[in-house]
């Protein structure tokens, strides 16, 4: 078989803190060339960026201390960003419990640690919108790992919900950006990462 003419997409993973290693593996398995991003200079030459799970407060401190906040917001105006859990919190417009700063690249509001503490974390199955299956592959449900997860409390008119859990949106897309409140990087199913790759 002839190899496709296009070279692999270069995807950055914000590697300040969190499960960036798990994302690196999932992206590589989805055919991306992966680079770890810790400085503004490392944003150059990548087609998209993943903001991993971890502690959003820790990431915010490091973003501020290293003057990365502006660089990331600028990056997100032109290129796709995919945020999981803490990454979703950083991409949201509004954050509560407690209120904190964010990149505000997506028109959603999230409440942090909304399910409770670690003893309330869970591995479960979520149902996706038909569109998710059409743009990726069946089946319609998706295994989802929620760890001290946030809940998306508001979805703006420009954003679309692609999956639900207990009546709350858990996978949301707006234009080129994508957020999940669960951790697709911790399950072998690569469809959410492939969906993100299709946006690059």
């Amino acid at each position: 078989m002839v190899a496709p003419p296009s070279s692999p997409k270069r995807v950055g993973v914000l590697a300040l803190q969190g499960d960036f290693e798990a994302h690196r593996k999932a992206l590589a398995a989805s055919g991306a060339e992966v680079v770890e991003v810790r400085t503004a200079a490392e944003l150059h030459g990548i087609d998209g960026l993943v903001i991993p799970g971890g502690e959003s407060t820790t990431m915010l401190k490091l973003l501020d201390a290293e003057n990365l906040t502006g660089a990331l917001a600028e990056f997100g105006r032109g290129r796709p960003i995919f945020g999981t859990c803490a990454g979703a919190i950083l991409l949201a417009k509004g954050v509560t419990r407690p209120a904190q700063a964010s990149l505000a690249l997506m028109d959603i509001d999230v409440e942090r640690n909304a399910y409770g503490r670690q003893v309330d974390s869970r591995v479960t199955h979520i149902s996706t919108e038909p569109e998710f299956g059409e743009r990726t592959r069946p089946p319609a449900d998706l295994e989802a790992v929620f760890i001290r997860a946030p809940i998306i409390r508001r979805v703006g008119p420009g954003a679309r919900v692609l999956a639900w859990y207990q009546g709350d949106p858990v996978l949301v897309e707006q234009g080129k950006h994508l957020v999940a409140t669960f951790h697709p990087e911790l399950t072998p199913d690569l469809r959410v990462h492939e969906l993100f790759m299709s946006k690059l």
Binding site: G18, G54, K61, R117, Q118, V145, L186
Partner: protein, 294 residues
Amino acid sequence: MFLDEEFRLKVGLAEMLKGGVIMDVTNAEQAAIAEKAGAAAVMALERVPSDIRKDGGVARMAPIAKIREIMRTVSIPVMAKARIGHFTEARILEALGVDYIDESEVLTPADEEHHIDKRPYKVPFVCGARNLGEALRRIGEGAAMIRTKGEAGSGNIVEAVRHMRTIQKEMKQLTVLGKEELMAEAKKHQAPFELIQWVAEHGKLPVPNFSAGGIATPADAALVMQLGAESVFVGSGIFKSDDPEARARAIVKAATYFNDPAKLLEASEDLGIGMHGLDISKLAESELMQTRGW
């Protein structure tokens, strides 16, 4: 078999803490300083290890009111220590809702033969280890995170380095052996056979491996990260230094930029005086915390 759903969740939270710093705190005020400095989690305890060492006496689980106050103050995960083998302290901490339990050699052991059977708990556990066998025995009991022990409260990195190097070397050695050699290794390491097989195949532990015990400077944190630690625990090193806030921030930066000498230089400037360190070779055998655990 050990990677069931419940265990994946426990390991999952450890994954979220990677590349971060877990800081020992004894009250809400310290917890707030730690969170503000960028800690990925805090560890609630009654006294930091260097005070336990100095004051002597029996070191137990922290007072519940203190842990509760810390949980109310910060939004990051809160861990708390239980004594080795003290399964009712652990059940109380689980009922309280802490995010992780450290079955820790820093506290006075409650059982000198057995650790807690950690599998039936909903809350995940972290345990200390000095070598691969000890790490795998703890994982066999259900620990979802390992931290090398080092020597807590010493301000001296030498034991943390020894333990991290030992585990890394013992793991590498397993990867080059034939399948028929692994049972003898299980016997040698006094570790469960299936976990020896797992390490031989993957070249790493099946759970995240963090470092603890003696980290006092940003350079110390970066050193153990370069040796293979995926995160660091800092105990006395922060709140026994001159300027805890600045030191906490600097160690957070060092854990992220452990491979970047220019950033490490920035992190190492203007820190004031670090905690007073101890020469471990001058400590009596009975003063060592790392030898607790079986």
